[in-house]
């Protein structure tokens, strides 16, 4: 039975109060904007503690089955929490891979033992998860994974490397796509998918420096690392299907995520505030008609994307190209974010030349860094160019690009 409106309203009040009371104070160091930006132990520990606190308060995985540690409640409750977290700009839930991709996947296809072993510890952040899809030579071409998984009795021996592993230095487990058979008709048939432990001999995550100058992810080397075959999820050789299923979670085409905010939202209103403060040509930037027009453009686009999310739930207003809004969401929101940050940098006039750690940098240089970090959204998880192929082909039905 769906919860009643009054029940939800009451819950909303309770949640708002809890976050107001429990939201952590400014830690005194710059927090990352998403799990992909976690670069220091200090940041990581702060965020892990916060996620545990939210879980223990009952505000994470609320719609996941209670037998595995979830709340067993209606999704509507979780949605209220997630929206309130965003509204109050509470820090994000750092175990994103676990909460949004691995967790739903395990609930969907995992064995009972896997569910028992992993789900609760994902929610509590006791186990941190990372993703092992990309390799140095196959960025977007997942089907071309080359990391070898050779069966040896009831074990698999892993050799090769994965790259762009966010939280790679901290993760306890990795969702891993590997090649278990090289003798197949198509490259897609030889793949297997594992829930692989990270803290075992032969696995070595090496930090990679980001374009911002900071560290944020790793290249993860596998050198005769041995894992039991109970780590398989889905059948041996059917890893491609599991990966495709994972992508439906990653791209939010399928539901079932644990909830919570996963990146710090950026608001156009923050750039409006910046435009009031920043000077151009000796006047507040907000007085310049061209700056104003661009600000209006960002406000309109932000409103449009937000309204899209509301409209996506109304079937009568999505009859012609159903799924368009959901399928394009990553593309539209990540490109908007990149452009907004870029604009926020340039409207600062001469002072746009400053960077993070400069004493006089406006807003501590967050827009400069935010612009660079925004490429994680337009590149990671399928570049915007690939997203456009996907939308063009799956939503508009255009022929596949070769």
């Amino acid at each position: 039975m769906s919860p009643s409106a009054s029940e939800l309203n009451e819950f909303q009040v309770e949640v708002a109060a809890w976050f107001t009371d429990n939201k952590p104070a400014d830690p005194g160091f710059l927090l990352p904007q998403s799990f992909m930006e976690v670069g220091t132990d200090q940041q990581f520990e702060f965020l892990r503690d916060w996620q545990r606190k939210v879980y223990e308060a009952g505000y994470l995985g609320m719609a996941w089955p209670s037998e595995y540690g979830g709340g067993g409640r209606d999704q509507a409750f979780q949605d209220i929490v997630t929206a309130e977290m965003a509204r109050q700009k509470a820090p994000f839930m750092t175990n994103t891979i676990g909460l949004s991709w691995a967790g739903p996947l395990i609930l969907n296809m995992g064995t009972e033992a896997q569910k028992q072993a992993y789900i609760k510890r994902i929610l509590s952040a006791e186990d941190i998860w990372c993703q092992g899809f990309s390799e140095p030579d196959n960025g977007s071409d997942l089907g071309n994974a080359q990391l070898r998984a050779v069966r040896d009795g009831d074990e698999f021996v892993l050799n090769g490397s994965k790259i762009w592993t966010s939280l790679g230095s901290y993760a306890d487990y990795m969702i891993l796509l590997a090649r278990s058979n090289t003798e197949t008709n198509t490259k897609y048939e030889g793949l297997s998918y594992f829930l692989a432990p990270m803290k075992i001999p032969g696995i070595d995550p090496v930090p990679i420096r980001k374009l911002t100058g900071e560290y944020g992810f790793t290249q993860t080397f596998f050198d005769d690392a041995r894992i039991p075959d109970t780590c398989l999820i889905g059948e041996e050789g059917k890893g491609w299907q599991v990966a495709m299923k994972t992508l439906t979670f990653e791209r939010a085409v399928s539901g079932g995520q644990a909830g919570g905010v996963h990146s710090m939202p950026v608001f156009a209103s923050e750039v409006v505030a910046l435009a009031r403060q920043a000077q151009r040509d000796g006047r507040p930037a907000i007085e310049d008609p061209l700056i104003r027009d661009q600000l209006v453009g960002f406000l309109m686009e932000e409103r449009g994307l937000e309204l899209n999310n509301l409209r996506a739930d109304i079937p009568g207003l999505n009859s012609e190209w159903p799924g368009a809004i959901a399928m394009a969401r990553k593309l539209t929101s990540s490109e908007w974010r990149r452009r907004l940050n870029q604009f926020a940098v340039t409207l600062q006039g001469a002072n746009a030349s400053r960077y993070v750690d400069d004493a006089q940098a406006i807003d501590g240089g967050r827009w400069q860094r935010g612009y660079f970090n925004a490429f994680s959204g337009t590149i990671g998880g399928g570049t915007s160019q690939i997203q456009k192929n996907i939308v063009g082909e799956r939503v508009l039905g255009l022929p596949k690009s070769e």
Binding site: A83, R87, P265, V266, F267, A268, S269, V272, A275, I286, P289, R292, D293, L295, V296, G297, L299, M300, E301, E302, R303, G304, L305, E306, L307, N308, L310, R311, I314, G316, L317, E320, W321, A324, I325, A328, L331, T332, S333, W336, Q385, K388, N389, V391, G392, E393, V395, L396, G397, L398, P399, K400, S401, E402
Partner: protein
Amino acid sequence: MTEQTEPSGILFSDEQAQLLEIAATFSANKAPIDAVRRQLAAGDAITGELWREIAALGWLGIAIPEEYGGSGLGLGEVVAIVEPMGRNLLSSPLAATTLAAQAILWGGSDLQKSQWLPQLAGGSVAALALTEAHGDWDLCNLTCSASRSGDMLSLSGGKTFVTDAAMADLFLLSVALEGTPALLLMEKSALGEAALHREVVIDETRRSYGLSLDGITVPAANLLPAANIGGALKGLHLAACLLYAAEMCGGMAGVINITLEYLKTRRQFDHFIGAYQALKHPMVDALVGLEQARSHLYHAATVFHMPSGRGEVAVRMAKAQAAAAFAFASDRAIQFHGAFGFTYDCDAQLFRRRALWCEQQHGDALHHRKHLADLLLD
């Protein structure tokens, strides 16, 4: 991504859903593209028969209260029929007639309401005579004037872009009266032979007329008695923007659709041309533009009547977004049809012309964004 969700973001009633579906079927059946093209050469924008069918469906009375023969719904429901009509390039005086009725509702006397609203709900055609040669989108900038002589008003000046004037039974007319804006109702019979002249406009599905008021007299009782006609004109302007946004959203879906059809069936260099990213990706951009425009549109339909300026912001955003996105989609439609796109036979041009008309009437994107800047940033 905005700071807070609006509880009334988008409401879409069962009535709207039904109307949208019925109107979509109706428009597709009654205005297939060959019928639209046949009508291009006709004297009126719509056949009398089709107009009577529309009236019989009750669509002219959607936003007219039941006591005056309407359905007692609102402009949000009108949006739901205008959008699918736009998708099929169906052109009619429906929007003008609806808007005239709204003006009478807002500012008319009881007598005017009881005289005209049932007629307009029943199929009489109204034309809006609001715009002048200077083209100012501020409808209070009036050079046409009325002066009293006894119980009569003598009119002078000229109006432009009076669509479907030749079909009109009633004209809603804006004039300066003793220096302030006034709205008045003028019956067809008040016009002399030469008062109307056909204008050549970019959207060939429309019939636009110039209207010369010189020498026309109408009873002073035809004035709308509302105290704040300036406010009513602004409301009329925003309501027109709302319906244009709906028409443009429909048009975008139409033009995206015909272009996709072409890209899926036309082969070049041994590939369907829709496989080329140079065409595929801009089509995705067009779709993304449409999706946002539709969201703005139905949000604007939801909050249109809300106080505190929210409706104005929403409507201006809807029109600005729809105009920009429709311009892009229809411009690319011509280009992506290649040499065929350069011909009159290709329907892309019909949509491009429609997009230009809809953008330029009642304020283009730049205009609305400038107003939005003042509303949102000051």
